[in-house]
Amino acid sequence: MKTRIVLVGAGVALLLAAPLLLSQGLVNAAIQMLIAALFACAYNLLCGQAGMLSFGHAAYFGVGAFATVHAMNAIGGTGLLPTPLLPLAGAVGGLGIGAIAGWFATQRTGTYFAMITLAIAELLHALAPHLKGLFGGEAGVSAMRMPALGLTFGSSTQVYYLTLVWVLVSIALLYLYTQTPVGRLTLGLRENGHRLRFLGYDVHKLSVLVFAISAMFSGVAGGLQVINNEAANYVLFDPSLSAAVVLNTYIGGVKVFLGPALGAALMTFFGYAISDLTQSWLLYQGILFVLVMMFMPAGLAGMVGTSSTLRKRYGAAALAPAFVLALLAALCLSCGGAFVVEMLQRMFSQDYRALASANAAMPSPPITLFGVAWSPASVITWLVPASLLAIGGAMAYFTRQRLQALDSQHATGAATANQPHVATTRSAA
């Protein structure tokens, strides 16, 4: 518990200091990361804690965004609220629409619930371009951040701090929610809604409540996005945004409270940093998601938890070689994978095909990648990623062997004391 408080404190301090350390472009990226983190946390209340997998959460993000943009433009452009309080409009919008949509969606559970949320989001997405008054048609609605409380909100830094305060307060509220009776009931809803009914709880009312609260905080995230962009467009309702929040949440890990925030921040940052370097960012995102789901379904945050469990069980010294080996394996595999993807992407690009067919004498001209010219027809070119992948695979195999050896040593050595397991599962919950 104490280490957790220290970690959170350090994280907040780092976030507060960030604009002093980062360039203008990175501050803008940080704003996006914060917004995505809040959206993922709000989504995880529904998905991870209540066990309701929504495929249309962009709807509530978008509603929050449009509620905020209209609040900014209200009263002849002076704004319904002073700028720092504008996300409240997003919260109200998200809560209202979330309560209505939730009333319908939570009539069913599981796949049917997911389909209803998808349908509601698609409905809004299809309707938005036609309702010009409300959503501004293709062009969208734009607005201006008005000065308030002696601040102009003209610079990215000021917007960053405004976003940071809202995100920290919202995430803190979402955390406190988990400690309340209704927060505990939310977990019961995920585990066994049927049993809750026979304990006297109105499960539908409870589900609508959870849905609406999740939508409310999604609306705050949408509102922050609009304050940052000073514009909202019907593209906010795009299914890709609904998909992104699902991917981010699962990559981060649904079982740990801050997992989704971590996943969303990381993925947003990668999107920002890598999308300039490669055209295959979406492919990498997809590969990463598949790998996480296959090999660590508890997500990145779950992996942190697992490694600390292992450290407690075997000690840091015994675990260090396996850890280094795993790191090297990951490095080799990602380098090899990236090489193959980038090479193939260039080989099959239209430019390259045109170049290759133009020059009959040289059907496969060399490709420049990582500062070196590689010939696609040469065996050596493909030996590089193949050997990287092979070495990485072998190291992954040895890591596994090493962990299994530790496990069997531990099983024979300390069969008597198997209690730490209980303690760790509790702290994870």
Partner: protein
């Protein structure tokens, strides 16, 4: 009978053309332990589902404590003071034992939609949860994940959850299924103890338990109650012997 807390009047349930419950009549006294026995497929669990709101009766009345509860929602029926357990263990498998029971304890305290207080700070709820855990001998298991416990421990947890709302009527659906002899004996004592001052309706296949804890027994065969009476009356009832008990009891 003035002391009746739950009565079933010509209760019927059909699934399509299949008549499963074919006119059940039953009166449960406010302070009796009443067992419901019958061969497999007689409809014992279906009657429980009808009483507890899991299924809606096709026709007939269920009157509980002056309320007609046939077809009402499970949560309404529970709040009136009728609580049940399930034949197939029905708990919150990935939560701790403490958390499982706390969810059950919270409801009667009116904490259903409360998000302005912290649950860990509520001493009354914690004490009551701990008392329930002691009652079913799970006090050492507070932080264990419920789904990782042995089957019989999960059954004990289920009984404790059923008791949490301090109900007037308890329905237990095969609480001893899968228990060892020692566990069965303990659970029988436990059921005797915790049903003091309330009504119990129990479905159980262990005849020794049924005859030792029940004040009265009803025999259900093919969706009809063919006999109701004290254990002695049931033991000596010719119709019951023929339909169900056979040599099991006479031997």
């Amino acid at each position: 009978m003035s002391n009746t807390i739950l009565s079933l009047r010509d209760l019927r349930k059909s699934f399509g053309p299949a008549d499963i419950i074919r006119g059940v009549n039953l009166d449960l006294q406010a302070d009796e332990r009443h067992a419901f026995i019958g061969p497999n497929g007689a409809g014992k669990s279906t009657v429980f589902h009808l009483i507890s709101g899991n299924l809606t009766p096709t026709s007939g009345d269920i009157v509980f404590d002056g309320h007609r509860i046939g077809g009402r929602s499970p949560q309404e029926i529970n709040r009136l003071g009728l609580s049940r357990s399930f034949q197939i263990t029905n708990i919150f498998p990935k939560l701790t034992v403490f958390e499982n029971l706390r969810l059950a304890v919270m409801r009667p305290h009116g904490l259903q939609y409360s998000f302005w207080s912290f649950i860990d700070r509520n001493a009354r709820i914690r004490e009551q949860t701990e008392r329930l855990m002691e009652q079913v001998r799970l006090q050492g298991r507070a932080t264990t994940i419920a789904g990782e416990m042995s089957y019989s421990e999960q059954r004990s947890l289920e009984i404790a959850m059923t008791l949490a709302s301090d109900p007037k009527v308890i329905l237990l659906d095969e609480p001893m299924a899968g228990m060892s002899n020692e566990e069965t004996a303990y659970t029988a004592d436990l059921i005797r103890e915790v049903t003091q001052g309330r009504a119990l309706l129990i479905v159980e296949h262990d005849m020794e338990v049924v005859f030792s804890i029940s004040d009265r027994i009803s025999v259900l065969v093919y969706g009809e109650v063919i006999a109701t009476g004290t254990p002695d009356e049931i033991r000596n009832n010719a119709k019951v012997k023929e339909a169900y008990l056979g040599e099991e009891v006479t031997a």
